[in-house]
């Protein structure tokens, strides 16, 4: 991967794509790295494809957007189609198994295409709402852009106020994170 880690993450509005991007970049910033995060969405209040562009590196980051990502994460049918343009021959493409993406929808030029069952796992083992944290786990598991410990701290910083009221949520989020990391072990 290049000097800066470039991630494009897309899903339906409300899937938590932007939250994960924010947690990732704030985690990177808190651990002394340079980071930039820019959300991108249409004029719809609800239901559009929402994309997050993230860059994390050791030097100040130039343009906030990029043409080709090191990693693309697509979490819905439309997101798969929408994000193909950010995939190059060095890009790892991750998508959720539950999408109805066919062979033809997937970006064949990718270095590797990895389907993961995050939505199903969230539903069966945790709670549908931590689906995005499983995804976050998969991202850091594949990219090493944050350690699990740094990711936990970043989640704590962002969601700590919710954990205060419901301490069991902390464990659920942290377990979902680990589950995401383990899910992609050895896949690259």
């Amino acid at each position: 991967m290049g000097q800066n880690f470039k991630l494009a993450m897309a899903g339906e509005g409300g899937q938590g794509v932007q939250s994960v991007a924010m947690i990732l970049t704030e985690g990177a910033y808190d651990s002394g790295r340079e980071a930039i995060y820019i959300p991108n969405f249409g004029v719809e209040q609800r239901g559009g494809v929402s994309i997050a562009f993230v860059q994390i590196g050791s030097k100040p980051i130039e343009a906030p957007k990029f043409k080709t990502a090191d990693m693309v994460v697509a979490l819905s049918d439309r997101a798969v189609l929408r994000t193909g343009m950010y995939v190059g021959p060095e890009t790892v493409f991750i998508y959720d198994e539950s999408t109805k993406a066919t062979e033809e929808d997937l970006p064949r030029q990718a270095k590797k295409i990895i389907p993961i069952p995050a939505i199903a796992i969230a539903k069966e083992e945790f709670n549908p709402r931590v689906f995005n944290i499983i995804i976050m786990g998969a991202i850091i598991g594949l990219s090493q852009v944050l350690t699990e410990e740094q990711a936990r701290e970043a989640i704590e910083n962002k969601l700590g106020y919710k954990f205060e009221q419901k301490p069991e949520l902390r464990e659920m989020n942290f377990n979902a994170l680990s589950r995401g990391i383990n899910l992609v072990q050895g896949l690259l």
Binding site: M22, T25, E26, Y29, D30, E34, A35, I36, Y37, I38, P39, N40, F41, G42, V43, I61, E62, A63, P64, K65, F66, K67, T68
Partner: protein, 360 residues
């Protein structure tokens, strides 16, 4: 009531809209007037959240026309007042902004450019450049700073209040949706602790004493009966604008001394073009970079110097040549050809600028 919004210096990771809000608070802005529009909204949101803690004011108006006019009212009352808008809102605000030009009202306006024409996208562009510089039925007697990220937004928002009140021209922060929404690190600070003294504000109307007896009367006009009368007013304004221009212009030149090709870009695009220059220099290309920070007044003399040895100028921008038009006007009497790489409403990366240059 909390004391100072920022004590000392702090590293922060925030959006551009937050950076503007913190800067306005730190600069001692008294009141914001505004009407919501993406991507400007969060300046209002953050301001309304923080203003009460520091005894500052806020007025949401019924549209951008009112936001502009009420902002003028705030300034007339002696308040360090500002507003912000974007896209179609920038169009509507031209009437009050034009009035501010005519009456030399030191209001500060933050423009968060979105795609155009019309509603277009809520995301990003550099298509409000011309409108911000020359909107209204006047001559563009405005001071416009084009920022390139969070640190700029913080620094120049503070500066805008001072420049506005020092020179008494409406002053603009020309930002964009990328800067508004993206998060990146910056240092926020209390201006006073950095030796930046805020220019005192004063009521432009309703001063104490009897006008003509205790003090000079102040007659703020935007209406004239005679054409020769108006002519004189505009010419005086023009002269004053030209007088202060050398004190106000700001730019950044990079590697231009021996450059055969000079890239020109403003705002956030300049980060991509500067990045491209670094890459191209490593590959042996004699490429330089010129970034006007003030678009009004335009650093024309500095630009001429920067392109003195160039065989070509390439203007890179997220509009269809709005900056290029200004550049061509400045370089009219030089023989160097001015070309453009234009991506209206779309972001530009260092990689594609490198490709553009190498493809020639």
């Amino acid at each position: 009531m909390a004391d100072k919004p920022i004590v000392g210096e702090k590293r922060a990771f925030m959006t551009g809209n937050e950076a503007v809000t913190w800067a306005a608070l730190a600069a001692g802005a008294h009141i914001m007037y505004g009407y919501p529009i993406t991507p400007q909204n969060e300046i209002m949101h953050y301001w309304t959240r923080m203003a009460p803690k520091y005894d500052r004011g806020f007025l949401q108006t019924e549209d951008e026309l009112s936001a502009g006019f009420t902002c003028i009212g705030g300034v007339l009352a002696g308040k360090r007042a500002f507003t912000g808008t974007a896209g179609p809102g920038t169009i509507l605000m031209q009437e009050p902004l034009s009035m501010a030009e005519m009456m030399r009202i030191p209001m500060v306006t933050v423009i968060c450019q979105r795609g155009g024409p019309s509603t277009a996208t809520v995301i990003y562009s550099q298509q409000e450049t011309r409108l911000t510089c020359f909107g209204g039925n006047g001559e563009g007697y405005r001071l416009v700073y084009s920022t390139a990220g969070q640190q700029d937004l913080f620094d120049y928002t503070i500066k805008a209040f001072n420049v506005a009140w020092k020179y008494r021209f409406p002053t603009f922060i020309l930002s964009d949706g990328y800067q508004s929404k993206m998060r990146e690190p910056l240092t926020i600070y209390d201006p006073e602790e950095r030796g930046i003294k805020m220019v005192e504000t004063e009521p432009l109307l309703g001063g104490t004493g009897i006008p003509g007896v205790d003090r000079d009367p102040r007659h703020l006009r935007n209406t004239y009966n005679m054409e020769d009368e108006l002519y004189q007013v505009v010419m005086d304004m023009d002269q004053e604008y030209k007088r202060i221009a050398p004190e106000v212009v700001e730019y950044k030149a990079m590697e231009t001394e021996d450059a055969e090709l000079v890239l020109v870009a403003h705002g956030i695009v300049s980060r991509a073009t500067e990045g491209a220059v670094r890459v191209l220099r490593e590959q042996g290309y004699r490429v330089g970079h010129f970034r006007p920070i003030t678009l009004r007044p335009f650093p024309g003399e500095a630009l001429k110097e920067a392109v003195a040895k160039a065989r070509r100028v390439l203007v890179v921008e997220s509009s269809m040549g709005q900056l290029a038009g200004m550049v061509k006007e400045e370089l009219y009497d030089l023989s160097v050809p001015v070309t453009g790489y234009f991506r209206p409403g779309e972001g530009i990366t260092a990689e594609e600028v490198v490709e553009q240059v190498r493809g020639r």
